[in-house]
Symmetry: C2
Subunit: 249 residues, 2 copies
């Protein structure tokens, strides 16, 4: 089976690397950014092109959400299987005469950050059982966490990730604002943050909750509210209310 | 110098262990729970008592916030230095004729979880320079992150920890609610969560922000709002609003 990966960003790079490490040959990596493609090509020994898309049985489109539709129109082969790697778009965003699929890795990719690919969950969607089997075999060669997922389900996966990652990072940013305001190095909080996150490897987060809200500690809650104003105060009240509701306090 | 640790919980255990590992002798560990004290005593080779508090130069009170005042009244020696280990209480909670201090380790302690004590920040407060020097020397023997901190500052440290840890854990709990509702194993999100947290070791969280709000992606924001209701929707709106405000979107 000939596989072509389209894209020159972090997802395209890490997918290419993961397949190469498993001796699964990639026929071509195709994109617009000559310099990036050349770098990937040299590191991984994969041919690349910026202008001539190779024929393939499977195309994996690993580009930004807004570019998927345009890129998908470059593929003309009705015998091909084409999958995008987006968490938030339906298969039908792909525009062409071929079979459509989704091959979504749930991870945040940075160029120079090594990842354990076997732990990355892959959520797959296809038009028929054959294609799903093929993508499952392919994803399973690099990961131990492969599951089928409808677009409907993928929406909730993305939403969960927003709560567990995007919002969590924003709370770190707001926390850093507070510590900076008192000239307390934010690095001092990193051991506590890592310990908090390590706990949920073994304990459901609902059972690991600590802090003044779940203790119903009015003294500390009132003290904190006096230290805050504006949007951080809104966050403080909203999240404490949510904690009280979850534990029926 | 004779040191006595009061308490039989996780903080008392880990402090005792950290000092013992550095060959700093603890004269006694004192508390109410015979079974727990016996376990700590046997593991670390420290004498213990539930009824006869030993004479000491320094007492470290590592008990729950609500028990500190009562326990502090047991100490009668006017020559002693007495420190509690709470993040949210002033030194003046200690009731006795002795010199008062605070010896606050910023970490969440679990009994069976090994910790790298050298990374734990200690925030210290004392009545005079001599006592502060003594506590600094002591804390520095187990940790590389020791700093003085007024009660005023300690309040903000605690508040920062609520945002960066208690609220973060609650977002994990809400995220798990969402994934459970779709029968998606929450364990699938752990690699992404760990990667999100690892990023802030090297990048300020404000620079690491991703997701629909910071991209100003109306399509996804609207789609998500339709999937949520009640308190989770309130959280979603409040945190997106906060992100937009932080990045002036």
């Amino acid at each position: 089976m000939n596989i072509v990966i389209i894209g020159s960003g972090n997802v395209a790079y890490h997918l290419s690397k993961a397949f190469t490490q498993q001796d699964i040959p990639i026929s071509q990596i195709f994109g617009r950014n000559d310099e990036k493609l050349q770098g990937i090509s040299e590191e991984l020994g994969i041919p690349y092109s910026t202008h001539q898309l190779a024929e393939a049985d499977l195309y994996l489109i690993a580009v930004s959400d807004h570019a998927i539709e345009e890129v998908s129109e470059l593929i003309k082969n009705p015998e091909a299987l084409v999958a995008h790697t987006s968490g938030s778009l339906p298969r039908e965003m792909l525009k062409g005469p071929y079979r459509k699929a989704c091959f979504y890795p749930l991870q945040t990719f940075s160029l120079h950050q090594d990842l354990d690919y076997r732990k990355i969950p892959f959520f797959l969607e296809a038009e028929n059982e054959n294609d799903l089997d093929l993508l499952t075999t392919l994803a399973s060669s690099i990961s131990d966490n492969v599951m089928e997922s409808s677009y409907e389900k993928r929406k909730y996966i993305h939403l969960t990730a927003v709560f567990a990652c995007n919002f969590v990072n924003h709370l770190f940013a707001r926390a850093q604002e507070i510590s900076n305001s008192q000239e307390i190095p934010f690095s001092y909080f990193l051991p506590l943050i890592h310990e908090t996150v390590d706990k949920i490897n073994t304990l459901p987060p609902k059972d690991a909750q600590t802090g003044p809200a779940v203790r119903n500690d009015f003294r500390v809650l009132q003290l904190h509210e006096k230290l805050l104003k504006g949007t951080p105060l809104e966050i403080y009240k909203t999240l404490n209310q949510s904690i009280k509701e979850m534990y029926e306090l």
